[in-house]
Amino acid sequence: MTSAARQGLVSCLTCRLLTRTASPTAPGHCPRCGARMVVRRHHSLQRTWALVIAAAICYVPANVLPVLTTTTVASTGSDTIMGGVVYLYQSGSWPLALIVLIASVMIPLGKLIALGHLLISVQRGSVANPRDRSRLYRVVDVIGRWSMLDVFVDSFTVALVQLSPLMSVQPGPGVVFFMAVVVLTMLAAQSFDPRLIWDPAEGQGEAR
């Protein structure tokens, strides 16, 4: 299989028009939509690595710090994401607990692991299962936005539950980190160029 890049062809990332590269070093601009064309995204691996690492760092406080602070007449309680999951499970709502667990804990973690795996495999020039890895990338790309479920519920609760003297709910610092995790992983997925998966398969690395 010969890649388009090797044959001096490049596809516009905006309008998907397949053109000949203007020169071997610089592909130039798309003749149809005028967008700047790249053979491979610039610094794709480096950017993705940076974003993935940042997301991984943020993942720790996102789970340790409370996402929701509930103040009632009786007491003040802080809940972390895992605390909420445990509470939901203990109060019998195990389907809800499962949803929160999957959407808020497992998906961000899974994305981080998946992106890490893709990055490492690409960097090592692995040729194993490029098709599966491409599918993994698509899943990561598609699923990313659903992780915002927790942030969405959090902001909703904070906005609605303001029964001032009796009860009030404040967002905790954890939710900011959690949002950062979601946004950073989405950006990481965006900056990763899936075409890199296939490059080693041609036997000749065109990395970076």
Binding site: T2, H43, R47, A50, L51, A54, P61, A74, S75, F177
Partner: protein, 559 residues
């Protein structure tokens, strides 16, 4: 992969653009790391000490839910509750905030605040909603500590300023922790605690007087029990005192400065006072000089209580200090013994200004002269002690000293620590005695002899009456016939008189009586005479000249 490229020229390599070895994108993970580390550092630095409080029971304490509050501000949170000390106690682990770490000194106090409803008030109402929490009171020590023993009960007046005092009482009465303390009926403090002294002879009551009022507690201040109703029935009547309705229900204490005491600087903290039974006892002036005397009575001491007044001519000069029995070693005779205490100062208060000097000189004189004075009073004037009833209702007795000039003369021995003063039986005992003697006399009367005498008298009376009756019969027999004759004679006389009257009647008043006949005749004569006169007069009227010329023949009659 070798391709079918015709030429074997070297292929140019794609080199990434220069100057972009490290992308700016790396700022993002660095930033994230910095923020995350910053938060972690802040967390670690902001962490206060972890302490352990050992409670007997951890009612309503839950890990991660129960707070430790000082002045209603959270200073920590319970992180774990577990059993300890062979499962007999509860160890509560709590994380204290860093800014409150300095408060964790060795004499800090912890207790569980729970809702409490007692008669004297409701506390911890907030815990009904918020759940129990651990109360905290700061200590004064400087030494930090991490393990504390929790109190079972909230310390009284936690966080309030004031002073603590100790009262010594015979018993606790109806007091309990939290019982109110009143000063001029203001609630100024409360009972903080109580304990028995080690030998169990008295109770030590710890009280707490709140800050502005503690300066009214002077060293000579008297405390008394204001529990319930203080109703006393005295010779003056019934007096009822109570401090407040709460004190009535739950008991309480009151204090005041006795009128005779001076206002000194406020009493020191932890000062000890005696708790008096009531206001009257507390306010009683102390009697510095006291002289003791012994009295022996020959009657029942029932209703004579210790503390009963001793009066001199009706004025209170002392009190009964003990009531007991005395066994005479020689005669093995048992007699009631009453010890009285005489307070000369009280007697002095009654003495007027002029004679005060005499008494003062006497009291300052030597014992010999004093004894002589008392001896004169007792031996010459007949000063005697006597039991008297203060009130007919209660029957309480007191000891009264009065002059009894008729009392048998008696010598007194005023030497020795407790001289014996002579007594006379009480009026009541006297009365009994007299009644007894009267009954005795009645008993001894020869009632039978008297009865037979009376019988004899009655018999002679009967005889007298019989002779009277005889006398009357004689009179009847002898006097009545004579009388009858006299009466007959009288009767006849009357008859004669009657006849005479009848004669008179006939001769004078009957129609044919001569007198009447004569009278009638006389009257008719008179009538005729009157008619003749009328004729004459008529004639004269018609012919007045006839008197002169004589009678003219009736011409007029012819016309």
């Amino acid at each position: 992969m070798e391709t079918d490229t015709p030429d074997h020229l070297p292929q140019a390599k794609l080199v990434p653009p220069k100057g972009a070895r490290f992308s700016a994108i790396w700022i993002i993970p660095i930033l994230a790391a910095v923020v995350a580390i910053g938060i972690a550092v802040q967390r670690i630095l902001g962490e206060g000490p972890t302490i352990t409080i050992v409670f007997n029971a951890a009612e309503g304490i839950e890990a991660n839910k129960t707070f430790i509050k000082y002045k209603d501000v959270n200073i920590g949170q319970v992180t774990a509750v577990r059993l300890t000390n062979k499962f007999s106690k509860v160890a509560v682990t709590a994380e204290i905030q860093k800014d409150a770490a300095e408060l964790m000194v060795e004499d800090a106090k912890f207790w569980v605040v729970r809702p409490e409803i007692t008669l004297s008030g409701i506390s911890g109402l907030g815990t009904l909603l918020a759940g129990n929490y651990i109360g905290f009171e700061a200590g004064n020590s400087e030494r930090r500590q991490t393990t504390f023993a929790g109190l079972d009960q909230a310390p009284v007046a936690a966080g309030e300023s004031g002073r603590q005092y100790t009262l010594i009482a015979r018993d606790l009465g109806s007091l309990s922790v939290g019982s109110p303390i009143y000063y001029r009926r203001l609630r100024v403090g409360q009972v903080a605690g109580y304990s028995l002294v080690p030998d169990g002879s008295e109770v030590r009551i710890k009280i707490f007087i709140n800050a502005p009022y503690d300066r009214y507690v002077y060293p000579s201040t008297r405390f008394w029990n204001a529990s319930g109703i203080d109703a006393s029935l005295t010779a003056e009547g019934v007096s009822v005192r109570t401090e407040s309705l709460v004190a009535l229900l739950v008991g309480g204490l009151a204090f005041d400065l006795p009128p005779f005491a001076a206002r000194e600087p406020a009493a020191a903290t932890e000062a000890t006072f005696t708790l008096y039974a009531d206001r009257l006892a507390a306010m009683k002036a102390p009697d510095p000089v006291a002289r003791h005397f012994v009295l022996y009575f020959k009657e029942s001491l029932h209703n004579l209580s210790v503390g009963a007044p001793v009066t001199l001519f009706g004025l209170n000069i002392g009190e009964v200090t003990s009531v007991g029995l005395q066994v005479d070693p020689d005669s093995a005779d048992v007699k009631p013994r009453v010890t009285i205490t005489f307070y000369p100062e009280r007697a002095m208060a009654y003495i007027d200004e002029k004679s005060k000097g005499i008494v003062e000189s006497l009291s300052s004189a030597d014992a010999q002269r004093r004894a002589a004075f008392v001896r004169r009073l007792v031996e010459e004037r007949g000063l005697r002690g006597q039991l008297k009833s203060a009130s007919l209702i209660t029957g309480q007795l007191y000891v009264a000293f009065d002059y009894h000039p008729g009392a048998p003369k008696q010598k007194v021995d005023l030497d020795g620590p407790t001289p014996i003063l002579p007594t006379v039986p009480s009026a009541l005992a006297n009365l009994e005695e007299k009644l007894g003697s009267v009954v005795d006399k009645i008993d001894r009367m020869p009632l039978e002899a008297i009865g037979s005498d009376i019988k004899k008298d009655l018999e002679s009376l009967d005889q007298t009456l019989t002779s009277v009756r005889k006398l009357v019969t004689n009179a009847d027999n002898e006097l009545v016939p004579g009388l009858k004759r006299d009466i007959d004679a009288l009767h006849r006389t009357l008859e004669t008189a009657e006849r005479a009257m009848a004669n008179a009647n006939t001769s004078l008043l009957e129609s044919n009586a001569p007198v009447q006949q004569d009278l009638r005749d006389a009257l008719s004569e008179f009538t005729r005479a009157a008619r003749s006169l009328r004729v004459l007069l008529n004639e004269l009227e018609r012919q007045p000249s006839s008197v002169i010329r004589g009678k003219v023949e009736s011409r007029s009659g012819a016309k």
